[in-house]
């Protein structure tokens, strides 16, 4: 087993990795930037190394500094978490060259699966369905018309070099096609320096379902079933579930998609944890999209339902161990739901917020897991992702899991920083969500249909009273100078903060 593992990440995932390492009795080495000196992962790890300025290009993305820190502290393995360098083949290769074990797949697998078109070709070679479309860029209008007619409208134009929705256009009929190609191409040219677009069949309102995989270096590879990740906003997942509600009506999908995912991974010589992403159309047909060559944000719901600790397995197989479980031994029990708690304002177009956490009260009780980087007094850095924590629940069935999730969200209190907790709670009351009718267009529809909260004058009156009593107490308690400082903002602000810091 490893002597010491460097955790090349921050926030909740760094905390989760440190916890897993401690369960395996392996000391953890945290790394931190200027913005994260006070972060939770730094406190929890046995050792910590400073790696640079707050912008991630100066710290969490600096391969040289991370490797140097590992050597200086005598670490012999690196866990990259998700984001940052986790899917960077160059980083994985650099670790290997420097005698550090990269806890993840080989640099070669990352490279092969990193390009969407290469991954698509791998899938085809493995006999796994992909969204019908062209592999090569289409430039001639005549050719585009022929391809689109063959695929059947609506079709989707995608920038070959693209990502994040740029250079993407939905085309519903032939008369829109030519101008849409022109627009998509010029947008892609501006965004990526390449105007190449290709055409794909548009799957209307698909579900986004993914399969968790794990394999060892000896060719053993299993899947741990699916996760439903259809509730997204601008390609960012918001709520994930295991199992997918679709499994109730189409139980055959899990093994069919699982086997497809394993086939793609085998084709790529894959080991360690990975996730195959699929979209599923209204008729239950699934299409491979891409492979994520890392531990996913939402891995926890799979852990809750299968009882498998993915982080433990990652470490074990990275150290050369044999996967301790066979496909037939994996079982799924009950239902788990994850909510991503973010520093954002749902009432202001989901703009990232920030600030200092004034009070924090995390939910507890039966079936609740919180993976979080928060503490009262924590200043949310504005340099990084706005996700603060992941709240997961497990229950014997989906309906109970929803009720439990709602209850836990009610218990969850974060003040001082605006979050999406209320928005998440409202989703738990949504009839479409409860019925499990999920698709990637869920959130825009939900925003239209969600009921407006009725005003509650009684609570408003009480809030006014409490606020006045609070301000008065803060004004009169402050250093005996209260009498001269009536109406002073700084006094109760200072007191409030002193109170938080205890």
């Amino acid at each position: 087993m490893f002597r010491k593992v460097l955790v090349a990440n921050r926030g909740e995932i760094a905390v989760r990795i440190v916890r897993g390492l401690h369960e395996l009795r392996i000391p953890a080495l945290a790394v931190y930037s200027d913005a994260d000196r006070d972060a939770l992962h730094v406190r929890m790890a046995e050792e910590a190394a400073y790696i640079g300025a707050a912008p991630s290009t100066e710290s969490y993305l600096r391969i040289d500094r991370i490797i140097e820190a590992a050597h200086r502290h005598g670490a012999d393995a690196v866990h990259p978490g998700y984001g940052f360098l986790s899917e960077n083949a160059e980083f994985a290769a650099a670790c290997e060259e420097e005698g550090l074990v990269f806890i993840g797949p080989s640099a070669q697998s990352i490279k092969r699966l990193g390009s969407k078109t290469a991954a698509r070709q791998l899938a085809k070679a493995a006999g796994v369905p992909v969204v019908p479309g062209t592999e090569d860029a289409t430039r001639e209008a005549e050719e585009a018309r022929r391809i689109a007619a063959e695929l059947g409208y609506p079709v989707l134009l995608k920038a070959a070099a693209g990502g994040g929705g740029k250079g993407m256009r939905r085309v519903d009929s032939e008369d829109e096609l030519e101008s849409a190609i022109r627009d998509a191409s010029s947008e892609a040219e501006r965004a990526f320096g390449s105007g190449e677009v290709y055409i794909e069949k548009l799957i209307v309102d698909p579900r986004h379902i993914e399969i968790q995989l794990i394999g060892d270096r000896h060719g053993n590879l299993v899947h741990l079933g699916e996760r439903e990740c259809s509730i997204q906003r601008r390609h960012q997942k918001v709520i994930e579930e295991c199992p997918s509600p679709l499994s109730a009506t189409r139980p055959e999908l899990r093994s069919a998609m699982g086997e497809a995912a394993v086939a793609v991974a085998r084709e790529a010589g894959y080991f360690n944890a990975g996730t195959a992403e699929f979209i599923v159309d209204r008729d239950g047909r699934f299409y491979f999209l891409e492979m994520n060559t890392r531990l996913q944000v939402e891995h926890g719901v799979t852990e809750l339902v299968t009882g498998v600790d993915l982080l433990h397995l990652q470490v074990l197989v990275a150290a050369g161990g044999t996967l301790p479980l066979r496909q037939t031994e994996i079982q799924w029990r009950g239902a788990a739901i994850e909510c991503r708690v973010c520093a954002e304002d749902p009432e202001a177009g989901f703009l990232p917020t920030g600030g200092r956490v004034a009070q924090l009260s995390e939910p507890g009780g039966p079936g609740v897991r919180v993976d979080s980087g928060l503490y009262a007094g924590f200043e949310v850095p504005f340099e990084y992702d706005p996700m603060l924590s992941k709240m997961m629940v497990w229950a014997g069935d989906r309906a109970t899991a929803i009720a439990r999730c709602r209850r836990a969200l009610e218990e969850y209190a974060i003040t001082g920083v605006k979050t999406n907790l209320g928005f998440l709670r409202h989703i738990m009351d949504d009839p479409e969500f409860i019925a499990g009718r999920l698709h990637t267009g869920f959130i825009p529809g939900f925003l239209e249909r969600r009921p407006r909260e009725a005003p509650c004058p009684e609570l408003e009156d009480m809030a006014a009273l409490i606020a006045a009593a609070h301000v008065r107490a803060r004004n009169t308690n402050g250093n005996g100078a209260g009498a001269q400082r009536q109406g002073s903002v700084s006094r109760w602000l200072a007191n409030g903060r002193a109170g938080v810091l205890r």
Binding site: Q359, T415, A463, I466, A467, A468, S490, V500, R502
Partner: protein, 150 residues
């Protein structure tokens, strides 16, 4: 004595002589028992007001003490000491005043840059600078105190 308290756009007269059974169980966290019902209120400072959270609802409340002689109605918070916060996360480019300086309403106090846009932070009223907390080059979060005027 009546306090002038504004919740949203609604002004609510408050008599602090009549308080319910309320306990501050943690800093800024109040347990209230009223007519046999139990409520939990959380109070946190937010830009010159307080945010009161209860039962999943948030209320921004400006509460002013009548003894402070609030002549201007709802914005009596403009008196006494006032912390001037950064309008958004970013970097302090310049601080334009020093401790002890007299400032006038609308006068520039500091320049904060975010996303390559420079924003001047101005004095909300006449007063005097009693503390300067920020210096050029500091990274600040939204609401971080730059300076205090009196």
């Amino acid at each position: 004595m009546n306090w002038r308290v504004v919740v949203g756009d609604r002004e609510i007269p408050i008599d602090l002589a009549k308080l319910p059974d309320m306990r501050e169980v943690e800093p800024g966290v109040y347990s209230v028992l009223q007519d046999g019902r139990s409520f939990l209120f959380r109070v946190a400072p937010v830009n010159g007001a307080v945010l009161v959270s209860v039962a999943g609802r948030d209320y921004k409340v400006v509460a002013s003490d009548p003894r402070a002689g609030g002549r201007h109605g709802r914005h009596t918070l403009g008196e006494g000491r006032q912390n001037i916060g950064a309008p958004m996360p970013g970097k302090v480019i310049r601080v334009l005043v020093a401790e002890g300086d007299a400032v006038q309403h609308g006068q520039g106090l500091a320049v904060v840059e975010a996303m390559k846009m420079q924003n001047e932070v101005r004095a909300p009223r006449d007063g005097r600078v009693v503390a300067v907390k920020a210096k050029a080059g500091d990274a600040v979060t939204a609401g971080a105190v730059l300076l205090t005027i009196e």
